[in-house]
């Protein structure tokens, strides 16, 4: 069992909390403060995004944050550096688009991630059918390749994905891109039931989860809650980074209350 799986299995709360932010956003320095706020707010794991010029699984909020990071010259190495600074305190999972992995060199990137202490890698545009070598490279270095399933995935595909999954399965709550939404999909319990019936790997839900009410709802059916765009918006809208981080800590603590 991987470290992430052990973390899920040994938890004493309904669901684990995994906040997301884009590596190097709003700046590399201020990103450290955001990650500190994640820990202060009670994050069980942290998801850190590697900025990419063409993030086609992301909505406007994450897109803008990656563009801002790229404009400052943030590279995958910078994000690996950030990950290594925090990985000893909290499990870190990286989200990275496939072209960045490919350009870095698949094996070389997985090796660098493992060296940085990263526990899992999420590649949102690498479906299981294209990911065989990547998943193998991760397995060889003890890093979980976190695979995604979507509400549109038929049962046979869920089975196929579950067969290669480790760490946790990232369940996309709605057919769509990342971004805060006013309500969760009514089909979510049904969808998570279909996934649960086909795997023992823990399930975490992301995309559109943006309030403690959403988190409470998700925790009834899943093992983990991923929140991203809402947190980035808090940094966006705050007058300064200190204020944004205080809002993040307060919000994450509220979410943690409902996850108890």
């Amino acid at each position: 069992m991987s470290r992430l799986e052990e973390l899920f299995k040994g938890r004493s709360k309904k669901a684990l909390l995994m906040p997301y932010t884009t590596g190097g956003y709003p700046t590399v320095k201020d990103c450290r403060q955001v990650l500190e706020a994640f820990i202060a707010g009670g994050a069980d794991m942290i998801e850190l995004g590697v900025p990419f010029s063409d993030p086609l699984a992301d909505g406007p909020v994450v897109q803008a944050s990656t563009q801002q990071a790229l404009d400052q010259g943030v590279t995958p190495d910078d994000v690996l550096q950030l990950a290594s600074e925090f990985a000893s305190r909290v499990p870190v999972v990286l989200m990275i688009y496939y072209n960045c992995v490919f350009a870095y060199g698949q094996d070389r990137f997985v090796e660098a991630a493992a060296a940085a202490g990263v526990d899992g890698l999420i590649v949102p545009d690498l479906p299981v059918d294209e990911g065989e070598e990547f998943i193998e490279a991760c397995r060889a270095r003890g890093v979980d390749a976190i695979l995604l399933v979507a509400p549109t995935s038929p049962d046979e595909r869920i089975k196929l994905i579950a067969g290669s999954a480790s760490g946790f399965i990232y369940c996309v709550s709605v057919a769509g891109v990342t971004g805060a939404r006013t309500s969760l999909s009514e089909q979510l319990p049904d969808f998570l039931g279909r996934v649960r019936a086909r795997t023992d790997v823990p399930l975490a839900v992301g995309f559109g989860v943006s309030t403690s009410e959403h988190a409470a709802e998700v925790a009834r059916f899943a093992d983990g809650v991923i929140i991203g765009s809402r947190l980035i918006s808090m940094v966006d809208e705050a007058p300064d980074i200190g204020d944004g981080c205080r809002k993040i800590v307060k919000f994450l603590k509220e979410v943690n209350e409902v996850l108890k």
Binding site: L56, P76, N99, A103, L126, P127, E130, G176
Partner: protein, 392 residues
């Protein structure tokens, strides 16, 4: 036979899991219908009576004389309804979408030709349609924006990233991810995730099938060379596909923009590296970290940092030569063809003309060359006039 999803190491389906089932559904529908006699009959009837096929293979006598040979033929895709080859593909895909019971159409567009062709086919089938277009392209292709609106399409301005075709395609994919169950995505080039590259090639391959038969009729032999411009590469694949098993040389002409060494060009094959963009593995313009670099070309249709995966494979295999011409050379060819043949070509197609102008001497007087005149230049007259100093 199942639909080709890989061309050597290129192609594939590098997209979010959410749309994988839709790609499976599309591949299955196309597989079922492509050799169905009813589907073929309906497609052929639309190509004949709505698109206006077959298009002529025109002997460009004055251009031939001016260059002193070879004998140059123009495949007149500019005479297709809507003014470019793009409609061959959109009519085919709309027929597929209608058969699949899809209720909404989306597409991306650069120069606006694919957007117009999609809006046209959507109107023909009575299905609502939204076209994603970068705000830079909206500004330089106003005529096509108006045409799309007249055809009842919604034009969605894209202000992210490079604000051109690349980002229009990102946003179209994002829309599709969110509406995948009832929406059909009409990709306009031989790019994107499988099965699109093979599907679009097949719908465009009518160009080469006609040209092959026409040149055999007029010359009694196959040509020595085929020339076509390459952005994503649909008109080139459409012409080349029917000749791949023949002893015929082929050249794909990319946009050298302000010069290959200026950093401002669209030459993905000549100057790109292998990578993944918009769902497929191919040659792309990128930096050392895999960030996509903006392309540049005077022609909006060639202003794309990727290329269809089959072109990358044909390049590696050495089956097709890929070369490039600059904005200035394309502009000169634009003028030359207008003055010598009475045909105003699209700036995209002018790249193919410019290539044969440069290389005419490589063929004997009796050589035979087919140039794909993929579109007409009405959409480009304002931009050309500015560049040529005809207008302020």
């Amino acid at each position: 036979m199942t639909i080709q999803s890989r061309f050597g190491p290129y192609g594939g389906r590098y997209v979010p899991e959410t749309v994988i089932p839709a790609l499976d559904e599309l591949a299955a529908a196309y597989e079922r219908l492509k050799d169905d006699s009813g589907f073929r009959a309906e497609l052929n009837s639309l190509l004949k009576d709505f698109v206006g096929r077959p298009t002529p293979l025109y002997f460009a006598g004055r251009l031939t004389a001016k260059l002193g040979g070879p004998r140059i033929y123009l495949k007149r895709e500019d005479l297709c309804h809507t003014g470019a080859h793009k409609i061959n593909n959109t009519v085919g895909q709309l027929l597929l979408a209608a058969e699949m019971g899809k209720k909404r159409i989306i597409a991306e567009t650069g120069a606006g030709q694919h957007g117009v062709a999609t809006a046209t086919a959507a109107a023909l089938f009575g299905i609502p349609c939204a076209i994603y277009m970068g705000i830079k392209d909206i500004a330089r292709q106003e005529l096509n924006v108006v045409r799309m609106k007249l055809l009842g399409a919604e034009v969605v301005p894209v202000s992210s990233g490079s604000q051109t075709l690349k980002d229009a395609m990102n946003d179209a994919i994002r829309d599709w991810v969110g509406n995948v169950e009832h929406t059909y995505y009409v990709i306009g080039s031989v790019a994107g995730p499988a099965p699109y590259p093979a599907l679009v090639r097949d719908f465009q391959s009518v160009i080469g099938r006609e040209a092959r038969q026409q040149v055999l009729e007029s010359e009694g032999r196959l040509p020595d060379e085929l020339v076509a411009c390459v952005g994503g590469g649909s008109n080139a694949m459409g012409l080349f596909a029917a000749f791949l098993d023949d002893q015929v040389s082929m050249t794909g002409v990319e946009a050298a923009g302000e010069g290959l060494d200026s950093g401002k060009h669209g030459a993905s094959i000549e100057r790109g590296q292998r990578g993944v963009l918009h769902g497929s593995m191919s040659y792309i313009l990128q930096d050392a970290y895999g960030q996509i670099i903006e392309a540049h070309s005077i022609s909006a249709g060639l202003d794309y940092p990727g290329v269809g995966p089959e072109h990358s494979w044909l390049h590696d295999e050495g089956r097709v030569r890929y070369d490039s011409v600059t904005d200035a050379e394309a502009l000169a060819a634009f003028t030359l063809l207008s003055e010598t043949e009475g045909i105003i070509p699209a700036l995209e197609s002018a790249h193919a003309i410019a290539w044969i102008v440069k290389h005419a001497g490589d063929y004997g007087k009796d050589g035979v060359v087919i140039v794909n005149l993929s579109g007409r230049g009405d959409k480009d007259v304002h931009q050309a006039a500015r560049a040529l100093g005809i207008m302020e």
